[in-house]
């Protein structure tokens, strides 16, 4: 008997230990949303919460969900909040509405350091180089000339206890030309507790998701309230992937979709470590004539009410489903959907605030940047506009003009930090109020700098990229918002960040094959000045001795050679 007790104790011991060790929690979810133009938006979210304050991480005691690498990285560089994203393709704002998280093409890094960080710039540099190693991305191109410290635009996502938030600890940079591919996805997946072996992460295989119309992966670290009173915080790591698929391209023109077809595999095995793993399919559109039906039928369907904006979701609990399938020995799980009728392309009405930015003028010396912001609401809207222009486009702030329906309007706040050659970018931040039903145009002129031949990228004639501008605002209307059913409990309205297009600007190029010639030519000209002046100042004039020779050709040639 005792023996049995003993054994049970032996058996239980590890579990007990385990229970103690579990200071972290992990949950995963996938939101599938049909977009107004028939494309399908998939948003994966993997959330790991460590119940420790980010400023005092104790990593020595082991835990099995929270990625240790990130933990070390945070505590080494004294990070308070980090947002890193890699995107590919362009999110079509006008037709797709607002995503859960707007990521421009290329890499974007936004870090808030802890207040008592002794040497912010150094740790910023370390962060970039570390991440570049971690994610195989060339983030080490982020230097002083690409970094800005936004004043108003980037409000912190996380909690700052007794508002210890300081804007000058914020670092922001973006690399518009950075590509994202398998080599970035793989290490990203390795951060997950079940890697890509089990759970929703097993759906993310490169070949499939890169064949999409939009792809973005991101890693966010922030601190959240540990308890309602919010007197202590815990650390949350959110890894998310957003993919937009175009069903007709995959189903030879037909409008239908299935998880297997999208991701090339079905869900075979759940992630044991995940506390919850759910798939939500937004079925709000079923009220319209492009309605579809799902199979297998969802076991539950929730109705979320977000500030009066109603959405319906079909909910699948992956664990249950796979369990259930296993019981009637089918060891895979798939969701597919069919439209009841032939799909109809409708005129999509764009979200109520859109921003588009483009270059004006032609030729490679002077030009202008214009951003057209439309507000189709009947009430005014406050927005913050952040634009970071690389130094080689010299911005003239006195040409900045903000007109709304051809009426000059004054910004309520304007922050400008002029760029410095090879050292710091131009940085413009504008807070302004968009009049109702208005079409506001922000425009300013620039002049292209002429670079050294060594400063050009290898593909000099391709042009250089200007990172996307950011438009931040508190929405008052939630129509085109994508709403994640798990986020609805937070009652404060979210801040929407939308990005404009990246710009490609071609610079005037010198002739890269010329250096030697140019040096020779110019030096010759200089000597051409030096020689005679030297002569004239050092020698004095006298009557020339009339030289008899030089009459016939032979002598002249001889003379010539003698001279030279």
């Amino acid at each position: 008997m005792t023996l049995i007790y003993f054994l049970t104790f032996i058996v239980l011991l590890p579990c007990v230990h385990l229970d103690e060790a579990v200071k972290d929690d992990y949950s995963e979810s996938l939101l599938i949303k049909p977009l107004p133009d028939g494309m399908i938006y998939n948003h994966f979210q993997f959330k790991t919460i460590l119940h420790q304050d980010i400023e005092y991480l104790h990593l020595e005691n082991h835990f099995d969900r929270f990625p240790l690498a990130i933990g070390n990285f945070i505590s080494k560089n004294l990070i308070k909040e980090l947002t890193f994203s890699l995107g590919r393709g362009h999110w079509k704002l006008n037709t797709w509405g607002y995503p859960l998280r707007y990521q421009p093409n290329g890499a974007e890094l936004w870090v808030t350091l802890q207040n008592f960080n002794p040497n912010p710039w150094k740790s910023w540099k370390d962060i970039t180089s570390t991440l570049s190693g971690l994610f195989c991305a060339s983030l080490n191109f982020i230097d002083k000339a690409a970094t800005t410290k936004p004043k108003f635009s980037l409000k912190p996502d996380g909690i700052f206890i007794n508002d210890s938030y300081r804007p000058d600890n914020v670092f922001y940079a973006s690399l518009a030309h950075e590509a994202v591919c398998t080599e970035n996805l793989t290490p990203w997946k390795k951060l997950l507790p079940c890697f890509s072996k089990a759970g929703l992460a097993s759906l993310l295989n490169a070949v499939q998701i890169f064949n999409s119309n939009y792809f973005a992966l991101s890693l966010d670290v922030k601190s959240i309230c540990r308890n309602p009173s919010c007197n202590e915080t815990s650390t949350e790591i959110t890894q998310s992937v957003q993919v937009v698929f175009n069903p007709p391209a995959m189903f030879e023109g037909k409008h239908r979709w299935s998880i297997v077809k999208f991701f090339g595999t079905s869900l075979k095995e759940e992630c044991k470590l995940a506390s919850s793993s759910k798939i939500y399919v937004e079925t709000t559109v079923n009220d319209t004539d492009n309605s579809y039906n799902l199979s297998p039928l969802p076991e539950t369907s929730i109705e979320s009410d977000f500030q009066g904006e109603k959405r319906r979701f079909a909910v699948y609990d992956v664990k249950k489903m796979i369990e259930h399938n296993r019981n009637n020995n089918v060891n895979k799980f798939n969701i597919y959907s069919m439209y009841q009728k032939e799909y109809i392309y409708k005129k999509v009405n764009p979200p109520y605030i859109t921003a588009h930015r483009y270059i004006t003028g032609y030729g490679v010396y002077l030009g202008g940047i214009t951003c057209r912001i439309t507000n189709s609401l009947t009430k005014a809207q406050n927005v913050t506009y952040l634009d970071v222009i690389p130094w080689y486009l010299r911005i003239y702030i006195h040409t900045l003009s903000i007109t709304s329906n051809n009426v000059e309007i004054k910004p309520s706040k304007l922050y400008h930090k002029p760029g410095k050659d090879r050292a710091q970018p131009h940085h413009i931040e504008i807070i302004l109020e968009l009049p109702p039903l208005s079409d506001t145009i922000i425009t300013y002129d620039f002049e292209r700098a002429f670079l050294k031949w060594t400063e050009f990228p290898p593909d000099a004639n391709h042009g250089v990229y200007v990172g996307a501008a950011t438009l931040t605002f508190q929405p008052t209307n939630f129509q085109n918002l994508t709403i994640h059913p798990e986020h609805t409990e937070s009652l404060d309205p979210p801040t929407i960040k939308i990005k404009t297009e990246n710009l490609l600007v071609s610079l005037p190029t010198p002739d890269f094959s010329m250096p030697y010639n140019v040096i020779c030519l110019v030096s010759t000209v200089i000597t051409l000045a030096f020689g005679p002046i030297h002569n004239l100042t050092t020698k004095r004039a006298r009557i020339a001795i009339q030289s008899k020779e030089g009459s016939n050709l032979k002598d002249r040639i001889f003379k010539f050679f003698k001279r030279s």
Binding site: K92, Y345, T360, G361, D459, N502, L504, S506, T509, P532
Partner: protein, 623 residues
Amino acid sequence: MGLLTDDKSSEESGIVKLLRNHANKVSFLCFTSAIIVAAALVTENYVDTTYFSDNALLPGLVNREFTNQPYLKDVLTRLRKVAKSRPNELVADWLVNEFNSIGLHGYEHNFTLHYPFGKEQVIKGNNVYAILRASRAQSTEALVISSPYRASNNVYGQTLPGIALMLSLAKYFSSKNYLAKDLIFLVCDKEYIGFQAWLDAYHEVDRSSVLDYGYLEAKSGPIQAAVNLQVYEEDIARLEVKIEGLNGQLPNLDLFNVAVELATRESITPTFHGKSHPFSADFYEVSKDYALTTASMMISQAKTIPTGAHGLFHKYAIQAITLEGIGKVAANQRKDYLSAPLFQVGRVIEGIFRSLNNLLERFNRSYWFYLLPSTRRYISIGYYMIPFGLMALPLLFKALNIYLTMKKVDQDKSEQDSTQVESLWNALPFNFYCHVLGFLIASLPALIQRYSWLYHDYNLKFKDTIYYTLISTSLLLMFNPIFRWKQKSEEQLKARQCVALINLALILSCLSLLNISLALFLTVLIVPVTYLCVSISNSILRKLLAPFILLLHPLSIGYLCILVVSFLVHHETDPMVHLARSAESHKSYLLKYLEDWYIHGNWTFFFGSALFFPAWFQIWSII
């Protein structure tokens, strides 16, 4: 470094002697050799074979998969129907719907042209365009497929097949995932005006009072290249590739090569100025062929009027060509080509755009300055500059010769204050004055337009008014001694000659950089006469040259060209009719150039009046 501070040398050095004593011989030599070289350049031995200098293009390596979709035929028929039902307007809403149904987003673009001359007159038009966003790239670059909208079967022929083809291409490409650049499909109203308006709107150039280009709802990045389709029929006999643009600017040679290459691969005969590449062994046949093609290209370049809508893109550093699908009927009168169905042209275009899609950098290799003896041969700037240089040199030689002789006289006259070289400086003001006159003439149209009531009262047309004003002005200037600053002394005359020659040489050489053909023609015409009238010392004899110089007046040159053409085209009628008719067309040409100047920025009129006329006027004033 005795170069600059050596007084003995350079005096009486060989070249100086030569120029002072044998300038005429040398010049003659130059001129004749120029003609010989020019002739030699178009022979098979000297023309070069075209090649792709940008490896990135990889033309035709990729499978072309565009096939004869049912959609193509269907959309064409529907388009024809709707176009017939609404004959005199662009069926914008229909096109937009069509684009939307494909899954793209179609946009309308409205523009207004306030006709700059004559009575206040407003032309409204609306283009239609759609942007196919590259699925997996950020949309920072764009390529354009465009076509003018010609529904009615007018002289140009209708372009509906081309537009249908464009639509089906849009459908085809939208299902493909390999696009790295956005594709913009553009259908333009009102011919060139539509294109101009769209381009201006795309680049948001400074607004002018003439063309109000409205604004575009959606844009993409910088446009890398454009192909303008003009397909008239469903069965294509040959594909005419057009390159001459506004002011005689040419697209990058690589683009032309790509088009030719792909057309050949799709076994559609590519032609340039109506001629395909001669595959004949006979040296003279081939050379003759080359010569003719080159000549016709040079003529169309010298006209500075674009041969197709592509010509308007060049101004914005966008490489563009026009592909003109000529039907059996039109083509066969020359010689019979095997005909190809419409979708095959589609495959050509698919191929071209796959190549353009491969480009990472904008066109920066190959040639921008060239002449084409055939679709497979080219003459680069390095070659054609030789004959031009040889032709223009005599002017400089003569100028130098005059200067040197003047100096010689100076040195012989032993007293120090030198009248001769002084007078050279005194001749400059006249030159300055001439150009001021030129600018005034150039601003005449604007002036006349401002005081339009003047001629409206006598209900004259603007066309006639400007025409006769110009003629009378130049007559006034020419025959009224007040305006000619009658030179007093011999050396002043010499000085003026010297300045005039240099001035002319400078203007011509500048022109040669922008539009070689025009420069060459002008040089051929003007150099001999000028040279003669400068080198003849006897003033009476010089007077005899007056009529010839008169024929070189910018206006009369234009008139003569038109006259010659009309004689060549229809030779039966009697000369008087020719004279009258060509006078009429002369007028309308003048008006056209003016319009082009105001709407598209064609500089021919300006050049003629503000630069060429003064140069000419100086020559006139020294006889």
